[in-house]
């Protein structure tokens, strides 16, 4: 059995007991990527030299330090929107082909300080825009549970690699569900921290008021260990919260007895597949059996959240992606006859269809004459969405729902219909608009496909999300299941 099947704490015990070394663990991860990723497409590139250098350093720390960090020597992967010093970082886009950042993102640096070992960069939808990973300019990633289905997006490579045991944990980014959705589709845990809980320094921006970095891992505890490493204030990101992160590990053991958990009526509306509903109802029964009180609640502005998101996110895209001009990074068009043509050629050649749609849409909703009717109105609706959550969190400790209305869908099924693709995120994106905490935890299967339960907590309520997520995980007891073809 591969060592990559083990949890972080199990691996940590083995590393400390010298049953295996960090170098051996990294080599095993890299060998698994070489032999198995051809059918998955989760990695855009591996970083064997960096991995072995970091693993050798981790082995030295494990030998020398009395209490090395929990992640010391653990193989991880970074979504390709995270800047890695000297390692190509493309955001899944042709416009950044060849870009080697001159610095590390804060989250990358923090995991490196804790001794984690980077085995590669993970595939994603171009600039994290998508729900299926089919918008990557380089390759699609497929779902390890069914190669004809998508892994979800936009952190699809990050989720698929953890599910297939090619990395122990990965980082993704969640702007409208891009960690939680692929976590649900691939049967892994994914955390979306509250806005400002984790630094965005060195994260190639998609929508700056919504983006957050979050971990994907096999277990809630593994995800907590990564979150504890990356969370907290960063003087390089002025939007990070100064509030202390606290001891997130304690939450895992607290259980749900005495908690009031809300089920948003609007999240169980039409469009929810029966198999997903069944798994979710099982999870509800488990939580009740563990002593939680379940109550129905209403988030009435949910009906407008998708529309508000698809105005606000494209607006921020049109602004953020203006820097992708082929002058300072990317292949560019330096031989173009004029500067204007250099911009247009570089962007036309460099941006895929979804990015073009969002840039055009964002430019439209921000333009004079349309700003009030679209952008300003969407920002007001955003206030209503946030107020809905504030109101229910006065009455309940957390919210639970399915992460997505369906399990993983077929490759190509939604690529011709942007609106169908957008609707995939209907249950996840309200949390981004409100800036609250959330996670997705595997709760079971329908027709052989994983189904995740979403837990939403208040602003900076990560501990509550982990607490409820750990209870679902214990009852579901599915995390050791490995997709066929990736066991062994």
């Amino acid at each position: 059995m591969s060592l990559l099947n083990l949890s972080v704490s199990e691996l940590g015990r083995g590393l400390r007991a010298r049953e295996f070394s960090s170098v051996e663990l990294a080599e095993e991860a890299l060998e698994r990527v070489d032999s198995l990723d051809g059918k998955l497409g989760a990695f855009l590139r591996t970083t064997p030299e960096l991995a072995l250098e970091q693993a050798r350093a981790a082995d030295r720390r494990l030998a020398a330090e009395a209490d090395p960090p929990a992640l010391c020597g653990i193989p991880i992967g970074h979504k390709d929107v995270l800047c890695t010093k000297g390692v190509e970082t493309t955001s899944g886009s042709r416009i950044l082909e060849g870009f080697r950042p001159p610095y590390d993102a804060t989250v990358v640096a923090r995991l490196a300080q804790d001794g984690a070992v980077v085995v590669g960069k993970m595939n994603c939808d171009e600039f994290a825009m998508g729900s299926s990973n089919e918008n990557s300019a380089f390759q699609p990633t497929v779902n390890p549970w069914d190669a004809e289905r998508v892994p979800g997006g936009s952190s699809g490579g990050s989720a698929a690699a953890v599910a297939a045991r090619l990395a122990v944990a990965t980082l993704g980014t969640d702007t409208g569900g891009s960690v939680r959705l692929p976590a649900s589709f691939c049967g892994v845990v994914g955390v979306k921290p509250s806005y400002g809980r984790v630094s965005r320094y060195g994260v190639i921006a998609f929508a700056s008021s919504l983006d957050q970095v979050g971990p994907l891992a096999k277990t809630v505890e593994d995800a907590q260990l990564v979150l504890s490493s990356i969370a907290g204030p960063d003087r390089r990101d002025s939007t990070t919260s100064a509030a202390p992160v606290g001891d997130l590990a304690r939450a895992l053991q607290e259980g749900v007895r005495g908690l009031r958990l809300g089920i948003p009526r609007e999240y169980l509306a039409a469009g929810l597949e029966d198999g997903v509903r069944g798994v979710f109802e099982s999870a509800c029964r488990w939580l009740e059996a563990e002593g939680a009180e379940l109550v129905e609640v209403s988030l009435p502005s949910t009906q407008y959240a998708l529309a508000a998101y698809y105005v606000i996110a494209p607006a921020e895209v049109s602004s953020n992606l203006a820097r992708m001009d082929g002058i300072r990074f990317g292949p560019g068009e330096p031989q173009a006859p004029s500067l204007l043509e250099a911009y247009e050629l570089a962007r036309n050649r460099g941006f895929g269809p979804e990015v073009r749609r969002r840039v055009a849409l964002g430019t439209f909703v921000l333009s004079s004459g349309y700003y009030d009717a679209y952008y300003l109105r969407a920002q007001k609706v955003r206030t209503l969405v946030a107020q809905d959550f504030s109101r229910v969190f006065e009455k309940v400790d957390a919210l639970i729902s399915p992460t997505a209305p369906t399990p993983a869908f077929r490759l190509g099924e939604r690529t011709q219909d942007p609106l169908a693709m957008y609707a995939t995120d209907a249950l996840t994106l309200p949390a981004n608009l409100a800036g609250i905490s959330g996670l997705s935890v595997p709760a079971g299967f329908t027709s052989g496909l994983p189904v995740g339960v979403q837990v939403l907590g208040p602003y900076l309520g990560e501990a509550m999300c982990l607490r409820v997520g750990a209870a679902v995980e214990r009852a579901a007891d599915v995390w050791r299941q490995v997709p066929a073809g990736f066991d062994g």
Binding site: E333, P334, L339, E344, R347, R357, F364, G369, K380
Partner: protein, 104 residues
């Protein structure tokens, strides 16, 4: 305010406006690309038109959710990237400067 043409449902977006957006956003869309993107954008705008139904009277706009204002740091000089590091990814540079095609 021009406002939303409710009869149209898609903000009156037509090929001429798509061409204007393409120029503004430096997308360089070809005629065929504009013809392809127009119905997609119109469908999205029709869907987000639902926003017009929401009652937002008296509601403040939310631009960001962290609740932080005027975050300052100490005014201290710190080392940054060298010119060489900053230019290392540029497709064209010369004598420590970015080189770009002529502005016409």
């Amino acid at each position: 305010m021009v406002g939303v043409d409710r009869e149209d449902g898609a903000g009156g977006l037509d090929l001429a406006l798509v061409a204007h957006l393409s120029r503004l956003a430096r997308l360089g869309l070809t005629d065929a690309e504009m013809a392809a993107i127009l119905p997609q954008l119109r469908a999205i705008l029709a869907a987000v038109g639902r926003l017009q139904e929401a009652d937002v009277s008296g509601v403040d706009a939310t631009a960001q959710v962290g609740g932080l204002y005027d975050v300052m740091r100490d005014d201290q000089v710190e080392p940054g990237l060298s010119a060489g590091e900053a230019l290392a990814n540029a497709p064209s540079h010369e004598a420590g400067l970015l080189r770009v095609p002529a502005i016409q």
